[in-house]
Symmetry: C2
Subunit: 403 residues, 2 copies
């Protein structure tokens, strides 16, 4: 099997930081030719994100895998006309500038779609292309705060808490990927391209937003390590620093949990029979489970019993735990991405690649490019004269002989 | 504009709970005909999730919008053969059973793809279809614990913290949607269907996994309200219960923040010029910002100044805040989904619909179906004789005259 779903697609990637570049990398994973347009001298901001190994950022190795790198100074008319030339036959055009910037550069959807009506043009921003906040800059953490995700995370009597993952960026990336894929499908049927408006804030609001208080009068709150409406469903501790996540919310799983704990008498206890009753008596349920954990020699002993009886559970894994995990080792969710030749102290950069497994198509992992290494070829392919190519490379500070 | 990207697609949705049904609802949003296969008597577990209004779950109204409902007892051969008949001309088949169950029912990918080689068959599970944990059940919270997301959320000296959103389920849903869309595109080109293996745990690991400690020796930790490698980037408090999220990590934004605070002298202070230096001196940076917030009359005053100078910031919004937000009101990210006729006390169920905006295609929002209301039509369309239809409806407890 070495079939790539998106081979033959040409993607112009004018994005920066995390959300946009990750989306473009995903298209590259599936075989698209992704041409990353970077600004002179520094390139994608990711190239300076720590940690740096032998002069190269590991973040860059990750988010710019499977791409070519072209340096263009978009304030230079030569750069813009070369880009427009390539836009004529690209399939996907992705940008993550502040709304309005692409129009000022003459690279907005209206312009590109006039040259190429089949183009799928995806804009990724903090707040979307319209509305009062469209012009506001934002990052992952701004999306977390805006969407409600932060407000509802943390202890009931504590403060709102940020998620330890750049969830706003990654949800933005996967939303953009799915939207582009759907638009590609629709274009195959209809011949029609379109403009896709992805917002990091909208992505997290899409998963967090629940306005049932309008109908019930009951307002959500933070509920710490446990769920507001499911029980038992949370992180349970043994009082000695050990913890395990348990979810056992239907009738059968509660019975299995009672058996695992050796507490058969609780199976039909009227306080605990249904999820609703357990939610009402959640303090007691949590105490019963945590007392049981405390009575055992170790969390491993608890996990063994929970697994034996089929109660959903997991360790609260750190990255070190994940590397040791027998399931992760067996299923191939982690891949080593080749590193640039200048990085001599490591062989590859290990990372999770692929949001799903596909039976008939593959994922590739090619090394992230050096800054600007494909610039000359890009300009020549746009029909630029060799002497103009040379002078552009010099003006934009692109290393000679880099391609 | 009333064009739907996925109209004409037939989707058999054999999923339950949140992740699978939300993915299928997204396909329905874009126009696919989604036939939700539910178990007799109770149907999708969502139908009993609180809050219940006039006998109907608001969760069900949300996750089963844009679908038909067909009740089948899959232990009954009549049900399986009717389903196989429909599988012959479906485009997408989605299931979220424990791996192995579909094979026992004779409804696994091998069987369905033999009848229909173009089928895109998507399996959604906790740990994926292969590997030592494939048989383990899991929920959103299990994926959070497994993936590392939980371990890295929370205070440095505190405990791992769960995310206040069912992020594992929603990321699973959007990963499945994007994977199905990509496979639909590829099928248009190649005629080839395939089996997609979506895991809730893999989805969150995909966004959380970072193994740079292997190369640097530096292990990640929880870092509470602030980022480990970006500064200022976190939640800042005024000491009187008010807080605001600020992200200002490049040179220009730090200068703008200094101006907003009226602290021009800090712009060129060697302790704070670069992000690296600010990360090293983060305790001082946080104190400077929080002292400034404390010196102002209110958080609103701070937000006004931050906006004036273009420093990315946001309120830590609750759902009540979001409903009042002028941007949310203007951009149409929230839609009212029509409610079933039996729900008489509310007009529609307000929810965020759509992971992105599309310029040429629309999103629809149709009411979630009553349990089993399309069963008879489904059985008849599969070629079942009227008397067998009647006896099946009776055996499976489907209300008469429900369609």
């Amino acid at each position: 099997m070495s079939t790539l779903m998106m081979s033959g697609l040409k993607v112009l990637d004018l994005t920066n930081n995390i959300a946009g570049p990750v989306c473009a990398a995903m298209l590259g994973d599936h075989g698209a030719e992704v041409i990353h347009i970077e600004k002179p001298v520094y390139g994608d901001d990711c190239r300076s994100f720590p940690p740096i190994i032998d002069g190269t950022s590991t973040t860059h190795m990750f988010v710019n895998r499977n791409k070519r790198s072209v340096v263009l100074d978009l304030k230079d008319k030569n750069a813009v006309s070369a880009l427009l030339e390539h836009a004529k036959d690209c399939d996907v055009f992705i940008e993550s500038c502040r709304p309005g910037v692409m129009a000022r550069l003459g690279l907005d959807y209206d312009t590109i779609s006039r040259l190429n009506p089949r183009v799928i043009y995806c804009s990724i921003s903090a707040y979307g292309q319209n509305g009062p906040y469209a012009g506001k800059a934002g990052y992952d953490i701004i999306a977390q705060g805006f969407s409600g995700m932060m407000y509802y995370s943390g202890e009931k009597d504590g403060e709102p808490t940020k998620c330890g993952t750049a969830v706003g960026d990654f949800v933005g990336a996967v939303n953009a990927f799915g939207s582009i894929a759907a638009a590609l499908y629709y274009r195959q049927l209809s011949g029609i391209g379109q403009h896709i408006d992805v917002s990091l804030a909208r992505g997290l609001l899409w998963m967090t937003g629940c306005f049932d208080h309008l109908y019930t009068g009951v307002h959500r709150t933070r509920t710490g390590s446990h769920d507001a409406s499911l029980c038992p469903y949370g992180i349970f501790r043994n009082g000695r620093g050990g913890s395990v996540v348990i979810g056992a919310v239907n009738v059968l799983l509660w019975k299995k949990l009672c058996l695992a704990m050796g507490r058969q008498e609780l199976m039909d206890d009227p306080r605990f029979v249904t999820n609703d009753q357990r939610v009402k008596n959640s303090a007691e349920v949590i105490k019963i489970i945590e007392d049981w954990l405390g009575s055992l020699g170790s969390i491993e002993e608890a996990v063994k019993l929970l697994d034996e009886y089929g109660v959903p559970n997991t360790n609260v894994n750190s990255m070190e735990d994940i590397l040791q995990d027998p399931h992760v080792k067996a299923v191939g969710w982690l891949k080593g991405i080749p590193v640039p030749p200048s990085v001599s102290t490591i062989e590859s950069r290990l990372t999770p690649v692929g949001i799903a497994g596909f039976s008939e198509t593959d994922i590739r992992t090619c090394c992230a490019p050096d800054l600007g290494e494909d610039t000359a070829a890009f300009l020549e392919a746009a029909g630029m004269r060799p002497d103009t190519v040379d002078s552009c490379l010099e003006k934009w500070g692109v290393p000679k002989g880099s391609d």
